[in-house]
Each structure stands twice: as C-alpha cells, then as structure tokens.
Symmetry: C2
Subunit: 428 residues, 2 copies
C-alpha cells in the first residue's frame, strides 16, 4: 500500500457523520479499491459535544473550518457544512489556495459561486468535486461529465427535490390538501429550515443550474433559472391531471435552444406512464437526452445519510485513485457565459379556472384563447358548484407569452373567478 | 491543445461506424472536454469496400486487426469486432503487450477471458475499458466501479437483453405466442446470428458476470452463472403473472451470500409496479443495491449505434483525460476466485401446472408441497379445458432444492399433465 489519502471533514450533520462511518467501517474495502488507505486526519463542526453516533476521538478537532481546511495533514477538504457563503465558501477557498482538493455536497455554493471556485481550483491545480450536491446517491454528475462526454446533450429533465415529490405524491395517494401534507412533511423532518428552499424550487433549481453548466459547457447561472414552487398546486389539479393521464411533478428542465439556455424548475404535467410520472415519494430521478445515447434515466434516493455519503465517497475515491477531471467537465476558462432564453420552448399547457355560472362564459374563454392564437386540444367542464363551474383545458403547443396574454385577457372578460392555474405539459 | 489521442478502431459494424461518426462530427467538443484532440489513425474490418455511411479514406486501413493494434500511431486500440476468442482476443492481447490502452464493447471476451486480460493490462501498465459491453448506453460499469466505490454492493439486478424484453413485453401487449414474436424479432433484425445468445440468456449472462466481478471483487466467472432462457414462457404465464400483479422478465441477479456468489440469469416474476416491472420493449435497466446508497436504478437503450458508441466514447474520453482505473475496479491480483453458491437464496415461486380432471387431484399437489415443507401463499384453479384444469400456485419463500424435490414428487402422483412451470419471484 502506498501513501494514505488524508481527509479533513467539516460539517458533521447527517452526511458528515455518514461519511465518517464509511471511512471507518470499510477501511479495507476502500484501500483495496483505491490502491491506498483512505484516512481521516481532522474534523470540524459547530458543536464538539454532540453525539453523532460515531467515535471521533481519534481525529484532531478544529473549531474553525478554515484552519481544518489548511492543515498540513489534510489532502482533501470535505465540505459538508452547507450554505452558499460564510464558512463553507471561506474554507473551500482556503483549502484550494492551500493546495488541497475539495469534495463538497453544497449545491447552493456551487450554484452561486461555481465558476469562481472552478477557476480557483484550476489556478491551484486542484480538483473540486460535488457528486453529493445533486440528487443524493444518484451518480448524475459523473455520468454527465464523464460517461456522456461523447454526447451533445440535448435536454436534461429531473425531479430533484424529494420533499416536493413526497408532498405531491402523498397529496394524490391520500387525497389530502397541500397544507396538511406540508405540515406532515414538516413533522417528519423532511423540510429545510427555510421550507421555501424546498417547496419554492430553489434547492432543486440549484441542482439544475449545476447540471446545465456541465451539459452545455456554460458558466453555472442560477439566476437564469425560471423558478416556480409547488405551493399553488391543489388536489383538484392532481386529480384532473391523473384523469387525463398525467401526473404533476416539480420538474427541472434544461435545454440549449437557438434563443439561449432554457432552465426551468416548475410544476409540470408529465405522462403518467413515463419513468418520471411513475416516480413515487422522496425518490429523485434525472433524465438525460443526448444525441448519441438517446435517453438515459437515473433514479435513486435524493437525500439521506447513506446515499449522500455514498456520493461524497465516490468523489473521495476518485481523488484517491488519481482520477482528476475539471470541475464542470472542461477547463473553467472555456465555459461560455450562459445567455438565458427569454422565452420557453413552446408546449401544451394545462389550464384550470372557475367560470361564473353565466350563459356564454365558456364561449368567452374559448374566444380569448383563439384570439391569442392558442388552439384547444381538450376541454372539460364539470358540474356547477355554488355559483361557479370548474373548467379544464389542455391547449395545443403554444408560446408561454401568448398564453400569458390570453390569461390577462381572460381576467378582463369578467367571467373567470380568481386566477386561472396554468401548468406546462412536458413531453418525454 | 496538447498531444492528440490517437485511436485504432477494429470492427466497423454498427458500433464501430457510430464511434467513427462521433469522433468526426464532434471533434471540437471532444477536444474542449478532454483538453486534447481525439483522432483516428487507422481502422480495420473484414470488408474494405462496404459503405458504412461515414468517410474512411483519411484513415490508414489494416486488414489485420493485430497489425492495427500495434501500430506506432495508435495510442488506444478500440476493439469492436466481437467474439470471445479469435481476432478480438488476439488483437487485444497484442495491443496491451505493445503498450496500448484498450477500449472494447466485447462482453463475451470479457466474461470468458476478463481476468487474464486484466492481469495482462496491468502487467503492461495499460487500461482495459468496456462500458459498451454492458447494457449499451447505460453507464453502469463506471457507476459501479467509481461512483459506488464507497459501497459494499449487496445485490445487482438487471434486464440486460433488450431482445428478450422486447419479446416478453410484445407477447403481453399484442397477446401473441412466443414463436410468433420470436419470428417478428428475427425479421426486425433484433436477434443475434445465433439467437440462443439472446433468448437463451447467454448474452445477458455475460454482462451479469462482468458486473458481479466489479461489485464483489471476484474474478469474472461466467461459468458460475445459472442460465435459463425465455423459450419456455407462454402467454398464459405472462397473463397469470399480470393477474397477480407481476410481470415476467429475463432477470439477472447477482449477490454475495454466505454460501458463495450467486449469479442467475433466468425468467423471473417482478412486481408490476417496480421500475423493472414497468420496463417496456428493448430498453435495459440495471438496479444496484448498496449498503450506503440503498438502491439506484439506471435505465436506457441497451444496444444500437448511438448508445453503444456513446459508451465506447465515454471510455475513450476517460483515457484522453488521463482517468485510469483498474479493469474491474481493483488490481486484478486482488480479485478473489468466485465460489459459486450451490443453492439460490430462498424465494417465493410461481407454479403453473395442468391437473387431470379427477377428484382429489388438487389435494395431492397440495400434499406434495406440504411434505416438501413448502407452504402455499395463493392458489387459483381455472375452469377446465378439455380433460385438464390449469392451476396457479404462488408459494411462500422456499429453497429451490425443496421445490425441485416437490416437482419431482408431483410427477409421481399421476395427476399432473406435462411439466409444471416454476418461475422465481424476485422482490424489489
């Protein structure tokens, strides 16, 4: 056996503790596979006294992650603290400048500072790896960066926030309203401290932006992600979608178009029989379409101690084996500035609205759509409840801008109660 | 840009031509990603004059793949001829001995000679890569070798022969008998020249043996794969399985047990709602279960020009980037000799038999099962057709040996017409 690879781990939450466990419990297996031992030199966390279910006394302790990151006996700084800025970023930068490789599971930091960190890593001849930052245990970063390197990627789709998928599928299976299931998820500890990171699509948007950078050779551009959360989805939408052969998912879509890079994270209808449509509970799924590979689908746990630690260890093992690749799959200086597409690729849309119980109301809505150049594929009007009639419409393919125009015009007809719901239908 | 990586490609069938196309059409993209140009120096095939839909005149031509493999202007020998022995093996050995890296999509060669070739590669300090050999465009070899290197793999399951999955799902959807769909597949060109490689499970068995070696750190042991083809599956089995919530798949399963390495490639019932159960047509799927990652599922096209060439190029790009890993994920000398498990892990079984229309026939069958210690979970008797009554039984978990004993004893009761069908139920 040759020189050990020595880790410094900052952040001992679920993923950090899981990583320590793997290094301790599988030392022999890791050494055989890497051709050298993998060891932990030092750890760091906010609270030294907390019981994390794994012995830590044999490792040096640092209160300051920056100090940890620059220790002489650390070859790889493993950043598992989280947060786009603050200590995570400071320690990552310090580690790279001190000539350490970095492994992180920090999607927010990568999505916001990915380009700068990639440049810094390369300037110092170090690697910055982040398999654990996207879709937990699913090896999508490596698949995209390495396995599919011979492809021009045409589209990426993904359900990358398990909490949202749990909420949406639980609403459907239990017939419960959003608020009830949201509270349930909260009780189960599925939600981030700021739940908007989950249900607002921000967390999943971070992941999408990271994947888009690799797929399209662009500088990661989170600000260019069109974000829409799941908070407005009601059980009626889920049921209506199911009736028409669809399921509603918080779906990320990234594609390079003639109009620029399109990045969307929003509730969409997908065919119920597609792999994405069949995805239940907290599981994640990423679909990659490439000009050569056609379509591959990766599915697995999107979070949790074991799965995310597995991803972190995949990166560590690559470094131990001497497998070194550019942060986003090509030198950071060659990544082009992403131009966000100003309009989304045309699609069919699902519309739900309540019409006043008044003669000619439906005709007015149909006329407005027609005037905006939007043709109707399917329409259903349900029995009247109180003074209003729920109406569902599936349009043929249209520009979102034309649809927005039509929705505004509908408001002026005086026959639509409240705001219509408009959800994109994403074909697979 | 630094020194180009120069390929010598032997075999210009579908995959070979597809690989040439990628190198030609995406030269710029490959160079940016690899940090160096990827070029073709020379090619070889049996027939020089055949039109392969891609210009070859700018490459040197070699009639003899061994000569190609050892040319001075070749850095990587790309073996796409196929066949476990003969020219493929001779040229691969010659290439490794001449200090060339090798990329192959040859599952038969790897399954039979994998260990010797891995030793030869290492003795010469070269890599031998084979993503294209298993499940076409699905990056399962890399996922298992690298991404999951922090896991102890507990089980691998897979549908890895698209032709068999096409036949089984087509039988179900069209309600056609095996022979008709087999002929259909033949007309469509889906079958190997020797169809037994497909429908007998041999091709898929090769792939399973390769994955098992990586997953369990054992020397690839194709002879240890318990093989059973799909030729005996009748439409009644498919329908009966569907009635009970299952679908029949040619399923590969590999797991390390206290009794040794279990490798099976056989028709099994899987839950209809599981990812494997939902797999339609020629698509492949591999499920990996690991102690940390829990379960990940990879799905994609299992064959074809683009997908397999994508996998081949993934390996080429790794070599271009200097990513070098042991053939089966650890030094070949550390792979242990696989001890084949003499008995399969206990499972529930699906049984279908025809009973003579005679009082007490069912009781006799039930008694025989009871005497072999096999308890019945579900039983269905259908209306009598002619002189016999079809009976379906789902057992509780049992040893296959106990079941075989019971099947033999049933034959002696005189109430069972023909051979009972027994299919394993694999839980997911």
């Amino acid at each position: 056996m040759t020189t050990p690879l020595r880790l410094g781990i900052a952040g001992l939450g679920t993923v950090g503790a899981g990583t320590v466990k793997i290094v301790r419990q599988k030392a022999h297996l890791l050494a055989v596979r890497a051709g050298r031992p993998v060891e932990i030199s030092a750890v760091s966390a906010r609270n030294r006294d907390k019981d994390r279910g794994v012995p830590l006394t044999s490792y040096a302790w640092e209160d300051d992650p920056v100090t940890l990151a620059t220790r002489d006996d650390v070859d790889v700084f493993v950043e598992l603290m989280g947060g786009s800025d603050g200590p995570a970023k400071a320690a990552t930068e310090a580690a790279l400048k001190a000539g350490k490789d970095v492994v992180t599971a920090n999607k927010a930091m990568l999505a916001v500072h990915g380009q700068d960190l990639a440049l810094l890593a390369e300037a110092n001849g170090r690697v910055l790896r982040f398999e654990g930052a996207v879709a937990g245990g699913i090896p999508i970063v490596k698949a995209l960066t390495e396995s599919l390197a011979g492809n021009e990627v045409t589209r990426i789709l993904g359900v990358m926030n398990g909490t949202c998928n749990y909420i949406l599928t639980r609403m459907e299976s239990a017939g419960l309203p959003y608020d009830t299931v949201f509270e349930e998820a909260n009780q189960l500890g599925y939600l981030e401290a700021d739940p908007e990171l989950d249900v607002g699509g921000i967390d999943a948007g971070h992941k999408l932006a990271i994947l888009a950078a690799i797929a399209f050779g662009t500088q990661v551009h989170f600000a260019g992600v069109e974000l829409e959360g799941i908070g407005k989805i009601v059980i009626e939408d889920i049921r209506a979608a199911a009736d028409m052969g669809y399921r509603i998912k918080l779906l990320g879509v990234a594609q390079m178009t003639g109009r620029g890079l399109e990045q969307r994270m929003s509730p969409c209808l997908v065919p119920a029989t597609s792999p994405l449509g069949q995805l239940e509970g907290g599981t994640n799924m990423v679909v990659v379409e490439g000009d050569s590979v056609e379509q591959i689908v990766l599915r697995g746990p999107g979070a949790g101690e074991g799965p995310t630690a597995s991803a972190v260890m995949g990166d560590v093992m690559d470094i131990a084996r001497g497998l070194r690749v550019s942060t986003f799959g090509q030198p950071a200086a060659t990544l082009t500035a992403a131009q966000a597409a100003q309009s989304a690729t045309p699609a069919s849309y699902y519309l739900r609205m309540n019409l006043k119980d008044r003669p000619g109301a439906l005709a007015k809505v149909a006329t407005v759509l027609g005037e905006s150049g939007i043709s109707i594929n399917r329409m259903r009007q349900y029995g009247h409840a109180n003074e209003s009639a729920p109406v569902l419409i599936v349009t043929h393919k249209t520009q979102r801008s034309a649809l927005n125009e039509a929705l505004t015009a509908m408001g002026r007809t005086g026959v639509v109660l409240g705001d219509p719901v408009a959800l994109r239908i994403e074909n697979l």
